[in-house]
Point group: C2
Chain length 343, copies 2
């Protein structure tokens, strides 16, 4: 009997990506098809099936080789019921029975998961949190995504909103920045790529020294005034950009501290396009140790105080490793767990 294979499908607002993943977490060449949500959800379900079929074909396999399928979609969703509810970036889709449709189309056990949760499962399986008992993940993108995984259990939540770490509160409502969710003071309103750009504009308005950010704001297309540019300029030593990036690390660290207080994980994984600078990661780590509970962060000092050498290592703050592949690899990981008998 050949080793089991799983298909992971990651449905996004722009494209759907899929690959076949083996029992060790190695993925075949990924395929992608346009999502075109505006064509409606029946077309969307057909595209999901087509992407899965294309991934299997591209891997040189047939559906008979596939033990189970995993599908990840952006929220809002009902994970337990296997439904997409009404995610803003998949409008006008509403109440889409994803898991049932895929399961019936291919007659395979089908797992369904939130895309941020799936990415965390992927990172825990074969990425930055490989071998960790527990992890939380923050993904800095247009928003701030999150996930909490304890042992083999994704904390899905009762309303499929477990691990919504972008909505950890870091400031009081009476003075906090406004978040897309409507509240004031959520982490996402400070540390998303969108928020980084907003804060950079504010920093520029009051900046007296030289900064290359100025030309991005005035000369180029506004699209070029983005988080990546700000992070790149910070790495090159631009003082204004450095201030914005340092503040981002500070805000993110406050969210990380609350996640540590809630679940005390072994590893904190930071993902997303803009977060690739080692200096940024080091700053997050420094702030977590400064503002977090002392024991999960400073175990070394504590071990010395108590004369123990067997205490668990301090919490690690690391970058994600799988990039955009995390979603479909994690979706396949969920399929694997389902096929192996977990609920």
């Amino acid at each position: 009997m050949p080793a089991a294979k799983y298909v992971g499908l990651d449905v996004g607002g722009t494209t759907m990506k899929a690959a076949v993943v083996d029992d060790a977490g190695a993925a075949s060449k990924a395929v992608a098809l346009d999502t075109n949500p505006e064509r409606g959800q029946d077309a969307g379900l057909n595209t999901m099936c087509a992407t899965i079929e294309l991934a299997v074909k591209t891997a040189g396999l047939t559906m008979a080789d596939v033990a189970a399928i995993g599908v990840a979609t952006p929220g809002l969703m009902d994970i337990r019921a296997g439904l997409i509810l009404d995610p803003p970036n998949l409008a006008p889709w509403k109440n889409v029975p994803v898991r049932e449709h895929i399961q019936k189309a291919f007659h395979k056990p089908t797992a369904y998961q939130n895309d941020a949760n799936a990415a965390a499962v992927g990172e825990k399986w074969v990425g930055a949190a490989r071998g960790a008992r527990s992890m939380v993940m923050f993904t800095l993108g247009t928003g701030v995504g999150g996930a909490v995984v304890i042992g083999d259990t994704v904390i899905e939540g009762e309303h499929s909103h477990g691990g919504e770490l972008g909505h950890l509160r870091i400031d009081m409502p009476d003075r906090g920045r406004r978040c897309g969710c409507g509240a004031l003071g959520c982490l996402e309103a400070y540390a998303s790529a969108t928020a980084v750009v907003e804060r950079a504009r504010e920093a520029l308005a009051g900046w007296r020294g030289h900064t290359e950010l100025k030309q991005y704001q005035t000369v180029f297309d506004q699209k070029q005034f983005n988080a990546e540019v700000i992070f790149t300029l910070a790495e090159k030593g631009d003082e204004c950009a450095k201030k914005v990036v340092d503040d981002t690390a500070y805000y993110l660290a406050l969210g990380v501290c609350s996640a540590i207080a809630a679940v005390d994980p072994e590893v904190v994984v930071i993902g997303g396009g803009m977060a690739k600078s080692k200096a940024f990661l080091a700053k997050v780590d420094e702030y977590v140790r400064r503002f977090g509970l002392p024991y999960p962060t400073l175990t070394d000092r504590y071990a010395k105080q108590l004369g123990r050498s067997d205490l668990p290592a301090p919490v690690k703050v690391v970058f994600a490793q799988l990039g955009e592949t995390a979603g479909y690899i994690g979706a396949a990981g969920c399929a694997r767990k389902l096929a192996n008998g977990a609920t």
Copy 2:
């Protein structure tokens, strides 16, 4: 064969309480012995054994009737290793092998848990969160204790600091109140009984109208200027006390919102001596709905938007029901889980 019985022991800084609990969560008459931590940890371990024996005897049973024992202690601790490390209110104890000692003394399977976690297990078993899939608990006392329980799993954390919800951050470090942990802006620095008294003193200093709090501050023993008095006066309509209590509800709700963002529980349980006023609970609930993620809190409106009647109910915010019995009932619950084969 008679139904299984479990002993739950709750070790506090002042007393140790124990009772025998049956398979349905009903507890026999509780017994208590003085902890006297200053007499040292060997004496402490002996007192633990004596309290367990006394509970069994008081219940009219013998140790042969007991299937397993559960012990709850305050942190700091190493839950996995079964050790008390060096909790401030058990000084000078250090590296105390609680689980091993009790297990060897009675030759019974012995569970070991943090006291706040045990209280949550008790509330989930036979108290305020009975029947819930998942819950978080905040206990307002000298500090703010917390716990997260998902299904049957207590989120213990990698450093035994899971569910340290008093250290969820609710304000920025540059302007937050100082917490006992050293950080600025932790929930505990706003919503513990100690913090309530501090904030009441501050409110009084600037209060121009009438308030009965003034006489508590000036005439009586300072010990009478406590959180219970402040909550009682608030219920009687004292405007200054009402402001302090309302602010407490606001701060607590911000912590609850972050806990909801992290794990999206079915029920949020609020425990502790001062939190018994329905008006206070209603305020917490109101603020959670105002400042929290809309979907876990306002599912009804969302269900209408989507035309669904099968979505899970909004998160419930309720008072604890077991009071001081929660610790030993929960410890017995942990013993029961252990005896039934869970890890």
